[in-house]
Point group: C2
Chain length 353, copies 2
């Protein structure tokens, strides 16, 4: 088992990575929680695979369990589902000392009675390497993804790489897109480790290391900067163009796929500016391509890409802050005036169109 | 001007109490905010009185202002209004560095893009002495008041006692109920100051002192205990029975009126237990009665009161923690098993019925 300690200004907690740990979840939870009422919040897909076993274990461990299930998919990150979950907690008379377990429920846990305790059991690679650390919770609005949310730290994150064996290959591979992002930001041994991944199944083989490395990096960033200020912006590497691609694709691209395209595109943008060494984009593209991740942007009109970027949360005043590499493992921040965006982005789009 | 510094584990900010300060709001806001977009969130009643003037000043001060108005009343503390406000911010392209000003908007500010900056301009006595300090935000659910919310600290709280002159007398007086609660918890000079209040108009005369004393006390509590753990529970004095009365009254009693009844009732409960000196309930009732606040509980069935108490947020496990006085200015916490509640509460209800 690998244990990564996450320390923020508001909370300290552990991320534990252990094969088979979901089958001993009660034992892990008992290290941080006394017996209490627990809501197990999951989606229809993951719930069908694991909810019964987890509930049985928790009950045997002395916890009272209410299972709450939302439909699988991004559409459940809605006001409607939030309201439904909050009202279910209220009707079950949950009090402030009770808890929520799951990987979809951070926002609900953060607002019900101004916050009840939370443990995360992420079961997808994307959730394990990306959303499990950092305390970000979110809902989507018609006007944009993740426009509503909170910063809310769990008491424990328990990651069982075994759950990846039931993940559809496309979802396994999309999570690997975020792993490549982390490895490119960290460089060194972590970047070298990616040489071992030559096909999608290799991700399963190396999952414990890939997850532990990614989580350790993210924990280090979150420790330095709990909210999104300086260091934490580094995690947006590949996300500026990536988010635009994801938004404009209207569901065609999964998050990790859009990030994969965004990683290669941002390197090309900064290679053209002479700020990233030529060849970096191709080196990253090679690591993404072996598992089948897309590396070339789809045809997109410059005006729609720019419009999507202008509403990005990374816009501060009249500038959009980009993350680029001066070398693998050497990220930098570069604020670009909104008025210059077209000139920076257009060459990359033309190359793709 | 009185300035009270509030320090919590997550933020430091000032509460400024100054007559006429709402007419110089831009100046005060400039001490904490650079020019940015501001959403001025208010209700129909307060907005009609002040929104134009505040907007004009803010715009003259270099801020871009969007005024968002919700209907006056508790019914606006709803998912529907929250969603409407969040979507209005999104459609106006507010980013994370923009801000929200108002006394109804803390929850919206805390969840839009995981938190935008917030300044409170409370215009009712209840908001000035009670909800302006402590960072609690809340929504109501069909199953109970304030069941959803967050802890979220503002950058500044600006209190203009002049706004109390436009407050209906019943609302002025209900706010005074919370002032009496604070004075009873603090004792000494603060309690003596209440001797000066012999009729509702005296509240206006002494408003700056009453507000400053109440806010200072609350700031001291919040500093020791940002979330509701130990010290902060003291602020629940009078609220255990008070909340039940408010809930069961279904809108008949304003919050401060229910608290007034709850203050007297809890003293009677603890006088009967021999834990509060006999005469305390009458001393508090006298201070409340001179301004016309109710001091005797309405007729309530024991079973409905107990049911309301069992769902109280102050229930931890099988106990409900009460606040009582060993003397004026000497509060204590007393956990009471839920199974004993009936025996503690019944005598007070019988006396009132």
């Amino acid at each position: 088992m690998t244990t990564i300690e996450v320390k923020t200004t508001t909370a300290n907690y552990a991320v534990k990575v252990k094969i088979g740990s979901l089958m001993n979840v009660a034992q892990a939870i008992k290290t941080v929680w006394t017996p209490r009422r627990i809501a197990l919040i999951t989606d229809t897909t993951v719930g069908a695979l694991y909810a019964d076993q987890v509930q049985t274990q928790l009950m045997a461990g002395g916890f009272a369990v209410t299972v709450l299930t939302v439909p699988t998919g991004e559409a459940s990150k809605s006001w409607t589902q939030t309201m439904r979950l909050v009202e279910a907690l209220s009707q079950a008379h949950f009090t402030r000392n009770d808890g929520v377990v799951g990987d979809l429920a951070g926002f609900v846990a953060s607002i019900y009675m101004r916050g009840i305790r939370l443990i995360q059991l992420p079961t997808s690679l994307l959730a394990q390497v990306d959303s499990s650390v950092g305390g970000k919770t979110a809902l989507d609005l018609p006007t944009g993804k993740n426009l509503v949310g909170s910063f809310y730290q769990p008491d424990l994150v328990l990651i069982d790489p075994q759950t990846l064996t039931t993940l559809p290959q496309r979802m396994l591979v999309e999570g690997y897109g975020e792993v490549v992002k982390c490895a490119a930001l960290v460089g060194g041994d972590f970047w070298e480790l990616l040489q071992s991944i030559q096909q999608p199944d290799d991700i399963l083989l190396f999952a414990p290391q890939l997850i532990a490395r990614s989580v350790s990096f993210k924990a280090q960033i979150v420790r330095a900067d709990e909210k999104e200020g300086g260091q934490r912006q580094l995690l947006n590497f590949g996300h500026t163009i990536g988010h635009a691609v994801e938004l404009l694709g209207q569901g065609k691209w999964m998050h990790g796929e859009a990030v994969a395209m965004g990683l290669v595109a941002v390197c090309r943008v900064f290679e053209a500016q002479g700020l990233t060494p030529v060849g970096t984009a191709n080196a990253i593209a090679a690591r993404l391509a072996v598992v089948g991740l897309p590396t070339e942007l789809p045809d997109l009109a410059l005006s729609t890409v720019l419009e999507a970027m202008r509403h990005d949360k990374k816009v501060h005043g009249d500038q959009l802050t980009w993350v680029y590499l001066t070398a693998l493992g050497q990220p930098q921040l570069q604020p670009v005036p909104l008025t210059d965006l077209a000139a920076w982005v257009a060459p990359v789009l033309n190359a793709a169109a």
